[in-house]
């Protein structure tokens, strides 16, 4: 589904290489986790995949279901089914959460040549999905992420994900700033979306999120490269021993 091949990326403003040849393939139906120390390039990877400005791809390729996506605009990638749950969800004052969701959903549908969703169907759908995430109608009406607590912001990201039904979901440190209860809600939301046709790339610092979202494959990223891949036990190893052993091993 998502095929990252020898991806090299440097910052646009300064001549600094952040990703130094990332190879990674996420198959449909699988959950891949990427762990790694600060500054290893995890968040950069999520931004580059989703098309944020400020990065130069100097080598390599990324395919989503066979389409090379690196030349595409962010909205084109979104319409193909790529979704990024932001580490720090953005506030948009004055724009109602529901308006935002509906505009996004219809933009994607339009781009794919599908009919737009009507007001009534939309409302039914959003209420149903929101209930599962314990998002009340007040939160749906409030401006996007404005005045939301950390937990509310992350649940809102998962709601967007549930509404947009992407093919590949990238979660960038979704667990950061969450207490245990909030993390469970978020994890349940993600687990509910696990599906044969959908792949996940879960970026996290800590093993604890992976207690709730069980990964199929765990990758360790350091200094812009995947240095080791393995099963869920790899995450436990990190939890117990830290990254230093793995880093030493790699060098």
């Amino acid at each position: 589904m998502l095929k990252i091949n020898n991806l090299h990326v440097s910052l646009e403003d300064e001549d600094k290489e952040i990703l130094k040849g990332v190879d990674l393939t996420v198959d449909a139906g699988k959950v891949h986790a990427i762990m790694g120390p600060n500054g290893s390039g995890k968040s950069t990877l999520s931004y580059v995949l989703s098309g944020k400005e400020g990065y130069n791809v100097t080598d390599g390729s990324v395919e989503l279901n066979g389409d090379d996506i690196m030349e595409l605009e962010p909205e084109e990638r979104a319409a193909l089914g790529l979704f990024l749950a932001f580490q720090y969800p953005i506030e948009i004052p004055g724009v109602g959460n529901m308006t935002f969701l509906r505009t996004a959903l219809n933009a994607q549908r339009k781009a794919r040549g599908e009919d737009e969703i009507g007001a009534t169907d939309f409302l039914r759908l959003v209420r149903e999905k929101a209930a599962a995430l314990k998002i009340d109608s007040d939160m749906l009406k409030r401006p996007v992420n404005v005045g939301f607590s950390g937990g509310e912001k992350k649940r809102n990201e998962i709601l967007q994900m549930a509404m947009l039904e992407p093919k590949i979901c990238i979660l960038d440190e979704t667990d950061s700033g969450l207490d245990v209860d909030a993390m469970k809600l978020v994890a349940n939301g993600v687990n509910a979306l696990r599906d044969e046709g959908r792949g996940f790339l879960v970026i996290t610092h800590y093993q604890r999120l992976l207690d709730h979202i069980k990964p199929d494959v765990v990758h360790i990223m350091a200094d812009g490269k995947i240095i080791k891949s393995g099963g869920p036990e790899l995450a436990l190893e990190v939890e117990n021993n830290g990254y230093s052993d793995l880093l030493d091993e790699a060098s």
Binding site: E73, E75, A78, I92, V95, G96, F100, Q108, A119
Partner: protein, 506 residues
């Protein structure tokens, strides 16, 4: 009404905005109507003023009123304090009167109006047939009788083409007609109120307008009457090198209510055109007037050629106790805007509100705001201004709040927000505050922000195109003001916000 419908209209951008962004690549109203016109010779002098008066078949008192204004105007100089910069205007190189030849013999009813003129308004989306309601409001059955009508006075260059729903309004006692007609039919009202809110000597442009105004709208709402429908005037400038000088006079007698809408467009021309209007509103005891404007004059091209120079004086006088007036404006057009709709809060407990969105893109310059003059006790005013600048445009909020010594326990709240798109435009806030008693309170808040790349990326990651994302963010920024507009105007305004910011990013 479905909850979903409310959401669609009130809550930021809807699908129509997005469609509008995609379908319309430039100024949508830039076409012109090929129609035989009759012009007065260029320039302004005694003969021209007499000619305009004669064309309108005016009584002598009106002609003299105009001539006195002209004499004053000759001694005045153009104000230069606004933060706008434009080439010297040659006031003698303009046409001050232009009317379609078919309007020489004034049509008795809309059926007799030149089909070309009717087609012009139809193309603009302004129906002049009474069985129709204003575009975009079909199905908005929020009135108990299930019907929502809007009466229209259509002004084409220097003349009023026609006014709809006149007889139905007459039954309610409401007078709604062109001002030229009111001068003939209701001289006692015109004599009493014309120039009583904006005196002939008020300012350079108002004085010029007093001398040469050719048409405009007149509204009188009798005591205790709630106007049964919304009233509107649609101004269209069509002729080249011609200024439009319209005059609007609205009188809301004791305990009455009216909501009035104003829209304006003009064709694309290479040379700038002058527009200097005066709007006077008289609000008596316990009466309430809402005046909403969507100003979409041609803003000039992306290099700053052409466009309308918009010098407008609008003022409301709350003469009676508990009188209320609310100005709402969406200023998206014009190359230069110089406009300060104001409230004189003379009656005790009277209230004035001003809600404004001013968008300046490319080379547009806007210097706009309001004046709140608190004279009565316990008067209240509220100002919410949203300025958006893009391209190399300059956008200034200029506002004045005055608390007279007599205006005990009065309050003002001002909120002034500026939004910048790109790094070559400017936003300025110039508040003047004068408080002459110690029981009144004035609050002023101002913010300046930029459309944030992170916000745009967030929207685009969720699937929206770049311009759609800008429109969404900006409409969010303007939400407080959009909500103050009547529903049909709110929809139009949302679309306009999107369209006028096209090409401002990327």
């Amino acid at each position: 009404m479905e909850a979903g419908d409310t959401l669609q209209v009130k809550d930021g951008v809807d699908q129509e905005t997005i469609d509008a962004v995609k379908e319309v690549s430039t100024y949508k109203y830039g076409w012109d109507t090929d129609i035989e016109m009759e012009y007065a010779p260029k320039g302004v002098n005694e003969d021209i003023v007499k000619l305009i008066s004669e064309k309108n078949l005016e009584p002598e008192w009106m002609t003299n009123w105009r001539l006195e204004a002209l004499e004053r105007w000759k001694k005045m100089t153009e104000p230069k304090w606004a933060m706008v910069d434009y080439p010297e205007i040659d006031f003698q190189d303009q046409y001050y009167y232009a009317r379609p030849k078919s309007m020489v013999e004034k049509p008795k009813s809309l059926d007799e109006v030149d089909p070309k003129l009717l087609a012009t308004y139809e193309k603009l989306g302004i129906p002049l047939k009474e069985q129709m309601i204003l575009a975009g409001v079909e199905g908005q059955a929020d009135k108990p009788d299930g019907e929502r009508k809007v009466a229209v006075d259509a002004v084409f260059d220097s003349v009023s083409v026609g006014t709809t729903f006149k007889s139905e309004l007459k039954k309610a006692g409401v007078i709604f007609c062109s001002i030229s007609e009111a001068i003939k039919e209701h001289p006692e009202l015109v004599k009493k109120y014309l120039g009583s809110v904006v005196p002939v000597s008020d300012n350079f442009y108002a004085t010029l307008n007093s001398a040469v105004f050719s048409d405009g709208s007149f509204v009188y709402i009798p005591p205790g009457v709630k106007c049964p429908m919304e009233l509107s005037t649609y101004f269209r400038i069509n002729a080249e090198n011609t200024g439009q000088f319209e005059r609007t006079l609205i009188i809301a007698d004791k305990g009455s209510y009216v909501s009035y809408l104003e829209g304006c467009t003009a064709p694309k021309r290479d040379t700038a055109q002058l527009h200097a209007a005066v709007v006077e509103i008289v609000v008596e005891e316990d009466a309430e007037v809402k005046y909403s404007t969507v100003q979409n004059w041609f803003p000039g091209d992306e290099n700053g050629n052409g466009g309308i120079y918009n010098f407008v004086t609008k003022r409301a006088d709350c003469r009676g106790d508990r009188a209320k007036v609310m100005w709402t404006q969406v200023e998206t057009g014009s190359a230069v805007t110089w406009k300060y709709p104001s409230c004189i809060l003379r009656g005790d407990e009277s209230q004035g509100e001003f809600y404004s969105i001013a968008i300046a893109n490319n080379h547009q310059q806007a210097d706009t705001g309001t004046k709140m003059l608190h004279l009565g006790k316990n008067t209240k005013s509220r100002i919410v201004s949203k300025g958006i600048s893009a391209g190399v445009a300059q956008n200034t909020y200029r506002g004045q709040v005055n608390m007279h010594p007599r205006a005990k326990n009065s309050r003002n709240y001002t909120q002034c927000d500026s939004l910048l798109i790109g790094d070559k435009c400017g936003a300025h806030t110039v508040p003047y505050i004068e408080v002459k008693n110690n029981s009144s309170r004035v609050e002023h808040e101002a913010t300046t922000s930029k459309v944030d790349d992170d916000q745009l990326f967030y929207c685009r990651q969720r699937g929206m195109g770049e311009e759609e994302a800008v429109a969404l963010v900006v409409n969010g920024f303007c939400k407080d003001v959009l909500q103050a507009l009547p529903m049909e105007f709110a929809m139009e305004a949302q679309q306009l916000v999107a369209i006028s910011l096209e090409g401002s990013v990327g």
